[in-house]
């Protein structure tokens, strides 16, 4: 039997992001929802003010055709999810499924690592791509920052990658 005692194993909640070669800070205090519509999404998306594919508003990232992530502070998160239902959409909570990291001064590095153009990381833009072999959502922040969102189960893997990738 394989003895994995020597294995680096930790779930996202135990990973410390301090000291990573690419500076990363976990973002807390938000709830996240994955939003889709069954069938046509244009009307509902419009009603909710959801952005077009590849774009972001302060509270929503369009991560694919008809596919959004909502980010809301705890206070109005439930109301936001309810609005989705009213508009005919489906919202499921993914606050625990995903981890949100804000990467400092990261546009050049991420452009190099992903092959996406720098323009993809302007505030208001978002992209979904592969990094470290997993799916990540990247959203541009002010001052060259980039927000990275991915499955929390891979946190340890990503932590190691940030040290070795550049």
């Amino acid at each position: 039997m394989a003895d994995l005692a020597a294995w680096p194993s930790m779930h996202g909640s135990e990973v410390t992001w301090d000291g990573a070669a690419i500076a990363a800070r976990p973002v807390e205090g938000f709830r996240l929802f994955r939003v889709k519509f069954a069938g046509e999404s244009e009307e509902g998306a419009k009603a909710l003010g959801l952005p077009d594919c590849g774009h972001a508003t302060p509270s929503a990232l369009a991560i694919g055709p008809g596919d959004w992530l909502l980010i809301h502070p705890e206070a109005d998160a439930d109301a936001a999810a309810a609005r989705v239902t009213t508009a005919g959409g489906y919202a499921i909570e993914v606050s625990d499924a995903l981890i949100v990291l804000d990467l400092k001064d990261a546009t050049q590095v991420l452009s190099r690592l992903t092959g996406l153009g720098i323009a993809c990381f302007e505030p208001g833009r978002t992209a979904r791509t592969r990094l470290a072999g997993i799916a990540v959502v990247l959203a541009g922040l002010d001052m060259g920052g980039v927000r990275m969102i991915f499955d929390r189960s891979y946190a340890r893997h990503m932590r190691r990658y940030l040290d070795l990738a550049a």
């Binding site: 039997m1 394989a2 003895d3 994995l4 005692a5 020597a6 294995w7 680096p8």
Partner: protein, 415 residues
């Protein structure tokens, strides 16, 4: 002329002048009893066995480019018969047995090295699945042995056995009679032997269409003219669907690029052929010292004989995860073939829907090891107009019947 150390020495004494042709380059005749489309290993072996086993010598092998220039010259040279199901095991082991005597049969050294093919086990589930596999092989009369961790360390020292390995090696199983053979030599050896028996090998001759009707095929249209044919064998891996299209039927085959590469030659560092089911990567070291490495397909349909960089990265990453000490070595050459993938990873072998046309295709990533048995059975089928018992289960009709032979596990490479 018979090849031997003696004849080599004699020629050396004569200054190596006038070495005879290995095969002729004849002009195509207007008609042949059998026309084989595709001058790779399978086509040339078919021609050889038609002449040798069945006395059918009025045969032409038509090759679009240069013989052995398709998948026969592009594979990773592995020969094995470690298959799960009895039908596959019987066929591939017949091929291995033919390989065992092939150099002497053809009087051409194909350098079949039965150094052993090892499949690694990384989890207990792997161990269980491999035990079934190893037992099934023995039931099928094929050699197999399970290896303990100690035996693995001894036989493949360069693997990552450290506790922090991504895919810990906890055992494996071996087919000792498996190994590698010089792929070009197989094509050339069969070509020379077939030519000596009167078969015409016509290179630079592309088949562009067929003359056929409800009574079957009559002729093959080529870039060098129309050639009448009593029977037609299709052995053009990578373009089987194109040929089928020209005969008005479809095959359940999708063609992909499969890349392979070699390292620079180094002194011996790997004795066995080793496959990891976790990475889908397998490698061996050639007699010249080069590591020969293969892995998964480029995952888009293509006839280009050219893959792209992402697959190279994936395969190399898999190799280095298994063999970390190879990281500083360098890739020297890289190439790709066109593999015809069938969804149950078993070939399509049998009569075509057009009379007097016979199919030998759908080998996916595993056609090289099948060459001798493929030729043997194809020759039988063409000569006798009935499938050989060893390939009766591989016919095109199995899809409608549902009698699939799912060798995905046994073919060793992700599809």
């Amino acid at each position: 002329m018979r090849y031997s150390l003696l004849s080599l020495a004699r020629k050396a004494a004569q200054g190596h002048r006038d070495w005879p042709q290995a095969w002729r380059s004849p002009e195509p005749k207007p008609h042949y009893d059998v026309v084989i489309v595709g001058g790779g290993g399978h086509g040339l072996a078919t021609a050889y066995y038609l002449a040798k086993n069945h006395g059918v010598t009025n045969v032409a092998v038509l090759e679009k480019g240069w013989i052995g220039g398709g998948n026969t010259g592009r594979n990773t040279t592995v020969v094995r018969s470690n298959y799960l199901f009895p039908e596959s095991a019987a066929f591939y082991d017949h091929s291995v047995k033919l390989y065992e005597g092939l150099s002497k049969e053809l009087n051409y050294n194909i350098m079949f090295s039965q150094r052993g093919m090892i499949t690694l086990a990384h989890t207990r589930h792997d161990l269980e699945a491999q035990r079934r596999w190893a037992n099934a092989m023995r039931m099928n009369g094929v050699d197999s042995d399970l290896l303990s961790l100690e035996e693995m360390r001894e036989q493949v020292p360069a693997l990552d056995y450290s506790p922090s390995a991504r895919f810990p090696v906890i055992g494996g199983f071996i087919q000792r009679r498996g190994g590698t053979a010089r792929h070009d030599a197989v094509a050339w050896g069969y070509a020379r032997a077939a030519d000596a028996l009167g078969v015409d090998i016509i290179q630079n001759c592309e088949v562009t269409g067929f003359d056929y009707d409800a009574d079957g095929v009559q002729a093959v249209r080529t870039s060098r003219g129309t050639i009448g044919a009593g029977r037609v064998g299709l052995t053009a891996s990578g373009h089987s669907t194109v040929l089928a299209d020209r005969l008005g039927f479809r095959l359940p085959i999708t063609s992909y690029a499969l890349q392979a590469f070699v390292s620079e030659p180094v002194k011996p560092v790997l004795d066995k052929v080793v496959l990891s089911p976790a990475t889908g990567v397998y490698l061996s070291q050639s007699d010249k010292g080069e590591l020969v490495i293969g892995g998964g397909l480029d995952l888009y349909a293509s006839y280009a004989q050219r893959g792209n960089l992402p697959t190279v990265e994936t395969v190399v990453a898999g190799m280095l995860t298994m063999f970390p000490s190879f990281s500083r070595m360098r890739m020297l050459r890289q190439w790709a073939g066109i593999v015809d993938v069938v969804h149950d990873s078993t070939p399509v072998f049998g009569p075509a829907p057009v009379k007097r046309v016979y199919l030998n295709c759908g080998w996916g990533t595993g056609g090289f090891k099948a060459i001798p048995a493929g030729g043997w059975c194809m020759a039988h089928m063409i000569a006798k107009d009935e499938p050989h018992p060893l390939t009766a289960a591989f016919g095109l009709d199995r899809f409608a019947k549902g009698a699939l032979i799912d060798e995905a596990a046994a073919s060793g490479i992700a599809h």
